[in-house]
């Protein structure tokens, strides 16, 4: 056969496979408000940057008449390309081919691109849209999942791993996203659960819709499985692209530098925080007042809102922000907020991203439910994550920093490199009311007017201890600064920490509380 004929033969083969599950299946996919796997890749990656591998892979299942079925590309597309010039490896499950079900060759394609990403040290993006295991392929399908989970774990902390849930992701399949760094979900499209509504109804007699069981909102607000919530696939892709600009390609690099820009001058930092430590404000306004271009990219916006995490840039360099949020649950630490912040701190540490912590914390949330939910071991994660992190750690105490909350929020004692405090900071063992009740218990009880006496003692305590100067006198705070000086001090700290190096004892790995 002459070459041009062979080329034509290749082109025909390609065209046939590129149609995936065929026009009917594609129409069905579109009717659900979903794009096809290939459209998704094209929408996400830089134009003409995608190079596909394994287009002609076929399954070799023989049982249940599978030998008579052809599944184009075995229901998953793999390859690599770029996002704003950053290299990424990607796989996208194709729901139009056998419901995106995972068989042996399907999983081998996924593990091939995972191995590639790890070898080439580039971020991996997985688009999940699959009915689950391909039952006809039996234990081979389970083996496939296991191989994926293993690679997710081995790659963790080496290359960034992003999971995008754009359809069902049920049963064992959910554990690949759960092992990755960031999970993206889209309203009405994403569905994640271990056992579906049908099984729950049969076994337990409880009726629930897929959406209420494991929809995008559930995982963004209740379970904490998802990190980014979007109203549409388009918005989701914008979030992924933006995230890629903030993170490095692997753990041996730092994130790319961007041209720095000043924050919005209309955000007057002195006008954000009320003097009274019991009054609320939005700590995101404080972050926006100091970060480059006032551009703060929040992560897990809808989960455990009493702590805020996300990325911004300081002088062009990616920085992770952790901040207590007085507007939500007074910014207390609890099971969920400790969990949320600790994981983010470990992410930043793994990928060479300095951490700035804004502190305004009243302490831990009291309650039987918190104690029984394990606030001890969950709270411990925060201490562990901050102590363990060797990236530059800079702390700004805005207002109150009481008790265990003070210690946990990147204090000097957990080896913060810089601790700054605003003049209104109150660094004390607990709030003035609680402290006065304990220290002056006898005086208050024996007084003729206990309420008046209590107020007097609270004021006495406030005057003496509700300030940053006791901590500053011990060197626990490096500088007491004016709010308007915050950005300058932060830029200075980030820039002098550029080559930070510290030695830690040799170990295989620690045993963090989980």
């Amino acid at each position: 056969m002459p070459l041009n004929k062979k080329i034509r033969e290749l082109q025909e083969k390609r065209e046939k496979v590129l149609l995936g599950g065929g026009e009917q299946a594609i129409e069905k996919q579109k009717a659900l408000g979903k794009r096809t796997a290939r459209e998704r890749i094209m929408a996400l990656l830089d134009e003409d940057s995608f190079t596909e591998y394994d287009l002609f892979v076929e399954h070799d299942a023989r049982d249940f008449d599978m030998d008579k079925k052809s599944l184009p590309s075995d229901g998953v597309i793999i390859g690599s390309g770029t996002i704003y010039g950053a290299p990424v490896a990607i796989f996208a499950q194709d729901f139009t081919v056998a419901g995106g079900s995972l068989g042996l060759m399907h999983s081998r394609k996924i593990t091939k691109i995972m191995d590639h990403a790890l070898k080439m040290k580039m971020p991996l993006i997985g688009i999940n849209d699959s009915g689950g295991a391909r039952i006809q392929e039996g234990v081979n399908s389970l083996a496939g999942y296991g191989e994926i989970f293993f690679r997710n774990t081995i790659s963790s902390g080496v290359i960034p791993q992003l999971s995008v849930i754009l359809g069902p992701c049920a049963g064992g399949a959910v554990y690949s996203p759960a092992l990755t760094d960031f999970v993206f979900v889209v309203d009405n499209i994403s569905k994640m659960f271990i056992t579906g509504p049908e099984v729950i109804k049969t076994v337990l007699g409880e009726e629930i819709s897929m959406e209420d069981l494991g929809g995008a909102r559930v995982h963004s607000e209740i379970t904490g499985n998802a990190h980014f919530f979007a109203a549409s696939e388009e918005e989701c892709f914008d979030q992924i692209k933006k995230l890629i600009t903030f993170i490095p390609w692997n753990n041996q690099h730092k994130a790319r530098m961007f041209e720095p820009g000043e924050p919005n001058p209309e955000l007057n930092i002195e006008k954000i925080v009320p003097d009274d430590p019991t009054m609320p404000y939005d700590v995101k306004d404080v972050i926006r007042a100091v970060v480059d271009n006032s551009d703060f990219f929040e992560i897990m916006e809808h989960y455990a809102k009493n702590i805020v995490i996300g990325f911004g840039r300081m002088g062009g360099r990616t920085t992770g922000f952790v901040a207590n949020q007085p507007l939500e649950m007074a910014g207390v630490l609890d099971v969920d907020s400790a969990d949320k912040a600790a994981r983010f701190i470990r992410y930043c540490d793994a990928f060479n991203i300095p951490i700035i912590t804004f502190v305004d914390v009243p302490g831990y949330l009291p309650g039987v439910d918190q104690e029984h939910a394990g606030v001890i071991r969950h709270g411990a994660k925060l201490l562990y994550a901050y102590s363990e992190a060797t990236v530059p750690k800079i702390t700004v105490i805005i207002r109150k920093a009481y008790g265990g909350g003070y210690i946990a929020m990147s204090s000097r004692h957990l080896r913060a490199d810089f601790v700054f405090a605003w003049p209104a900071a109150e660094i004390a063992v607990m709030g003035p009311e609680g402290a006065a009740n304990i220290i002056f218990r006898k005086e208050i009880m024996s007084s003729e007017d206990p309420d008046f006496m209590r107020k007097q003692k609270v004021e006495e305590y406030k005057a003496k201890f509700a300030n940053p100067y006791v901590a500053a006198s011990r060197g626990y705070v490096d500088a007491v600064i004016e709010p308007a000086e915050t950005r300058r001090f932060l830029l200075h700290s980030i820039s002098v920490s550029e080559n930070k190096e510290i030695q830690t004892p040799h170990k295989k790995h620690g045993i963090p509380p989980v």
Partner: protein, 105 residues
């Protein structure tokens, strides 16, 4: 300073904070100490068989009921001596987790 709506009050160490209160916190269940006279289903399932009658004396370790759950026939045994006061369920009932199965005197 901005003004915020829908603020509640949260008491932390005797300080009263004005802040938004989360749904999770608002809907938390108040703690109730367990009542040792009530035997509850520890798992959702179906009552397969009841092995005791109301008024019957039972001893620690006696089998009381068989609960079919998670593809298993679970034998419920008494952890105390006593007399059965009431059996609010009957054979074939499908019960949720925490349902009272037996009441001791």
């Amino acid at each position: 300073m901005k003004e915020y709506e829908n603020l509640g009050v949260l008491n932390i160490d005797a300080s009263l904070y004005k802040t938004k209160i989360s749904k999770k916190f608002e809907s938390r269940k108040p703690y109730k100490a367990a009542d040792k006279r009530l035997i509850l289903s520890y798992i959702p399932g179906t009552v397969l068989d009841i092995l005791v009658r109301e008024g019957q004396e039972v001893k620690n370790g006696d089998e009381l009921m068989i609960l079919d759950a998670m593809k298993m026939q679970n034998k419920l045994k008494s952890v105390t001596n006593g007399r059965i006061k009431k059996i609010p369920v009957k054979k074939g009932d499908r019960v949720a987790k925490g349902t009272v199965l037996l009441e001791l005197e």
